[in-house]
Homo-oligomer: 248 residues x 2
């Protein structure tokens, strides 16, 4: 890819770039550029702003902030959460590299949730107005973004089903399986990884208390399905875990 190589070179000259371009990003096959032609990727590249790393605990945006952009996660993990009227927090999702966060702000031009880095993270900012403009001329991009939003919908609905129908064991199993699958998608180990989120966040996300999450981990360890060492997870029996997640 000659054009990509040129891009790479031209960008390297700028000391403020933290990553070069979508064209040579390790994640481009699962991220927004997916299914775009090389020349279209370059166009997309031009509207994307790569910012400096986001420190652990810092916010990408907050509930109520004006909506300007969606963000592709490049490194690290984010959590999205809402605060209820009475001050409680609800984690609505975790976002891994290659995934898009911030689409909840489109509807009202205001972010409906906050996004916070669970560990040092990096994101690509995609100004939504530019994305809309580009989408009008690039049908594939328009389609792909529709698909990404639709995927967010179906994933939320899966979580709804999980919260509505499943026991504590099933919920935790489903989360671990999900993290495992998303790791595999990025060519990382599906069976050994570090959970970037705390037990509190997990419980919050799954509608359980910390204590319950902890107990479930212990139980699964006793069943030789998992090996848990603080945040380090090793899946010993992925099949069993999947069966658990589906309510066996």
């Amino acid at each position: 890819m000659n054009t990509q190589q040129q891009h790479l070179d031209s960008k390297k000259s700028c000391a403020h770039d933290f990553q070069v371009s979508c064209g040579n990003c390790r994640l481009n096959s699962i991220c927004l550029p997916f299914s775009l032609e090389a020349r279209d990727v370059d166009e997309l590249d031009r509207i994307i702003q790569r910012s400096k790393p986001l420190q652990k605990g810092h916010h990408l945006y907050r509930e109520g902030d004006g909506f300007q952009s969606v963000y592709a996660v490049r490194a690290g993990t984010l959590k999205a959460y809402q605060t209820t009227d009475d001050g409680r927090e609800q984690v609505t999702g975790f976002y891994f590299p290659g995934e898009i966060v911030g689409m909840d702000g489109i509807s009202k031009n205001v972010h409906a949730s906050s996004a916070k880095a669970l560990e040092t993270a990096a994101v690509c900012e995609i100004p939504f107005a530019s994305l809309e403009r580009l989408s009008a001329t690039m049908p594939q991009l328009q389609r792909h973004f529709f698909q990404l939003m639709s995927r967010e919908i179906t994933e939320d609905q899966q979580l709804i089903t999980l919260l509505s129908k499943s026991s504590a064991d099933e919920r935790v199993a489903a989360l671990i399986v999900s993290v495992s699958a998303r790791n595999a998608r990025r060519k990382l180990s599906a069976t050994q990884f570090r959970l970037s989120m705390s037990r509190v966040d997990i419980g919050n996300y799954l509608g359980l208390t910390v204590e319950t999450v902890s107990r479930v981990f212990s139980r699964m360890q006793k069943m030789d399905v998992l090996r848990v060492d603080n945040k380090e997870i090793e899946i010993l029996d992925l099949d069993a875990l999947q069966r658990l997640a589906e309510g066996a």
Copy 2:
């Protein structure tokens, strides 16, 4: 609106039309045409297919069906639901007139859920390929559809919060408040209406058993917040109900 009147007349000549056009639809201010100019509405009109009524219990589409279109509800109520691997059903949403159903199919070109009429219903079918094409030339339509999808995301996330954090009373109260608000949006009574869904569907949607839903209704009746007569609901104290929904 002269163009609308013409439209109306020209359509009336066709005996198979069940409704005339977006231009004179009672719901156009809350439905897809929202924020479009009159001439754009006409263009939208041309791609929309108005079908004959959908009988109670019949499916608009089923999980696994190829995705072709999204649908605007014109009359009646639909429920969307998924079937889990072990055969259980999860209701993921109720759809009232003016609302769009079927967006979950965009992501994989296959419907991720089924949609079924809870009472005799009518829908406007919007072929998605045409909508995409039109969106490329009508920025407002593109934007509005992005917004509708984003709204579905934020609504799903609200349901997630409800399922994750709220007691049975709060869940039921929230549903009633939601139905009330959606009625008001259509200029119907916010305090008196007929619930088109069964207790089973309500429980399924809210992650509760039928019995629990029934008990909650009874309790609220005793508290003089609601008057419940089978499916007929009268809200006696909307404030109290809202406070309940927010966890008072």
